[in-house]
C-alpha cells in the first residue's frame, strides 16, 4: 500500500461534459474518474473504461464517503418529498471566522436560514441537539436549507457576514 495523499485531489471542470478527477492507484498508475452531467460515472484505468449508471454511482459515492448508509431509491424519494429543500454538507474552511464559536453564538438559522442537523468531525458524527456545540475547522456541517442557503452559509462561516 502506498500512503494516501495528504491533500485530497480537486476535480477539474470538463466544460459541457462534467467533471474529471485524477487519482492514482496503489502502484501509482493513473486512475481517471469522470462524472458526466447526467450523473454517469466513468472510470478509466490502464486504457479500460468502465461505466457506472447514475443511481449506482450515487450509491458508490455514499459508500466511499463513509458517512452514509444508502437505502435503495433514497435520493429519488428525498427529492420527491422535499422539493425546494436541500440536504447538503459544508466544510468549515481553514481560517474560518466561525471556528471555535457555538451554533448558538453564530445564530446560523437567523443569519443564513440554514439549519445544521449534524457535524461530522473526522469519523465521529455529532447530532446537533445542543446549541452550545462549537464548530471547528475541518468540520463537515450537515445542513438542511433552502436552495440558495449554501452560499450564504459558506460566506458567513468564512467571513462572519
Amino acid at each position: 500500500m502506498t500512503p494516501d495523499h495528504p491533500v485530497p485531489p480537486e476535480p477539474q471542470r470538463l466544460p459541457g461534459v462534467g467533471q474529471r478527477l485524477d487519482l492514482a492507484d496503489d502502484d501509482g498508475r493513473a486512475l481517471t474518474v469522470i462524472r458526466r452531467k447526467d450523473g454517469t460515472l466513468e472510470l478509466h484505468h490502464e486504457g479500460h473504461p468502465t461505466y457506472i449508471p447514475p443511481t449506482q454511482a450515487r450509491a458508490l459515492g455514499a459508500l466511499a464517503s463513509g458517512h452514509f448508509r444508502m437505502a435503495p431509491g433514497l435520493f429519488e424519494r428525498v427529492e420527491g418529498v422535499l422539493g425546494g429543500i436541500d440536504f447538503d454538507w459544508v466544510t468549515v474552511p481553514d481560517g474560518a471566522w466561525a471556528a471555535g464559536l457555538s451554533i448558538q453564538d453564530l445564530a446560523l438559522r437567523q443569519r443564513t436560514g440554514v439549519t445544521v442537523v449534524a457535524i461530522l468531525r473526522g469519523s465521529i458524527p455529532i447530532l446537533v441537539t445542543d446549541p452550545t456545540q462549537r464548530v471547528e475547522v475541518g468540520d463537515e456541517l450537515v445542513i438542511v436549507s433552502p436552495p440558495e442557503g449554501r452560499p450564504a452559509l459558506e460566506r458567513y462561516l468564512a467571513r462572519g457576514s
Binding site: 471542470r13 470538463l14 466544460p15 459541457g16 425546494g84 433552502p146 440558495e148
Partner: protein, 403 residues
Amino acid sequence: MGRELIVLGIAFLLSGLLARLGARFGLPTIPLFVAAGILVGPNTPGPVLFENPHDLELLAAFGLIFLLFYLGVEFSVDDLTSGGTKLLWSAGLYLALNMGGGLLLGFAFGWGTKEAFIVAGITGISSSAIVTKVLVELHRLANPETRLILGIIVLEDLFLALYLAALAPVIGEAESASEGALLFLRALVFLLLLAAVANWGAPIVEKIITAKSDELLVVLFVGFALLVAGVAYELGVSDAIGAFMAGLVIAGTTLASRVERLVRPLRDAFAALFFFAFGLSIDPGDIASVLGPAVIAIIATLALATAAAVGAARINGLDRQAAANIAFSVAARGEFALILVTLAAGAGLDARLAPFAAIYVLVLAVISPILALRSAAFVRFIPKRLVPDPEPVPGPEPVPEPA
C-alpha cells in the same frame, strides 16, 4: 389551429425518428433534423408539410434562443483561465486559421463583403454539440487531449458570441457608414450594460427570477431569456447574442445549476425545430450552384483543422495520435454555422449562403465523427518532424532487489 398542431407534431416526430435511425449508424442529430426539414419542405417532391418556412419562424427562434441561453448559463470563466496561455494559443491558432481561411474563401466566391464575413463564421466555429457527443461516444473523455479540445470549443463559443455581436450591426440594414457606426455604438452600449449586469447585478436578477419550485423557476427564467433576446433584436444586436448574455447573467447567480438542468429539455425540443425549419428553407435545386464552393470549403476546413491541431499538439506537448483526434473532432460543424446563416437570411444577404451552409454542415457533421473514430489511420500522415513523440515520462525509481 388543428392543422398547425398536426403538422408540428409530424415535424417533431419525423425529426426524432430520422435522428433515432441515424443514431444507430453513429450519426449526430443535427444533420438529420435538417434532412427531415428538406424532405417535407416545399422544394422536394412528395408531401409538403409547410408551404412557407416562415410559419415556423417564432418557434424556430425559440430554438436559437435556448441554444445560446444554455451556452451562456454553462459558461464559466474558470474554463478559460484553467487552460492557461497554452489553451489561448491553441484556440487562437485554430480560430485564426479557420476564420482567416474562411474569409479568404468568402471573398474568392465573390458573393460580397458581408457574405464573406458570414462564410468566415460558418467555417470558423466548431459544433459544440457534435464535438462533445463524439468525445463521449468514442470513450475519449479521459484522453490527454480532451481537456484541450473542450477548452478550444469553449473559447470558440465565446468568440462566436463576440462575433455575432460585432456582425449583427455590420450586416444590418444601415443605409450609410455613419448610420452603421451609430447602430454599432448602440449595440455596444447594450452589450456593455448586460456585461455590467452579469458582473455586478446578478444578485438583483436572482431576486427577480428566483423560486423555490422548479415550475416557477422555469416560467421566470424563460421570461427573462425571451425578454433580453427580444430587446437585443429590437436594438439590432440579434436575439442570439441577447440570449447568450441573459444566460451569462444567470451563470453568475446561485440558480445556475438548476437553470442549466431545467433549460436542457426546452433547448432540445426547440433546437430540433430550428434545424428542421432551416431544412425547410433549403431547395435541393439550388445545391448545384453552390456545390463547388461547398466542396472547396469542406476540404479547406479539414486541412486547416488538421494544421491547427498539429500546432495545438506541439504547443501542449501531445503526440501525433492526439493531434489526429483533435483535428477530426473539432472539424465538426453544426448549430453555429446554421445560426449565422439564419442571421444572414434575416438581413437579406445572398441567398446562396443557405444551400452552401446546408451542404457544408451536412457533410462535415456526418464525416467528422466517422474520421474521428478512425483517426488512428491518419496518424502516419502527420510528419514526426512536426509533432515529435513526447519524452517518456520518467516512472518511479526501480526498487533495488534485496541482495
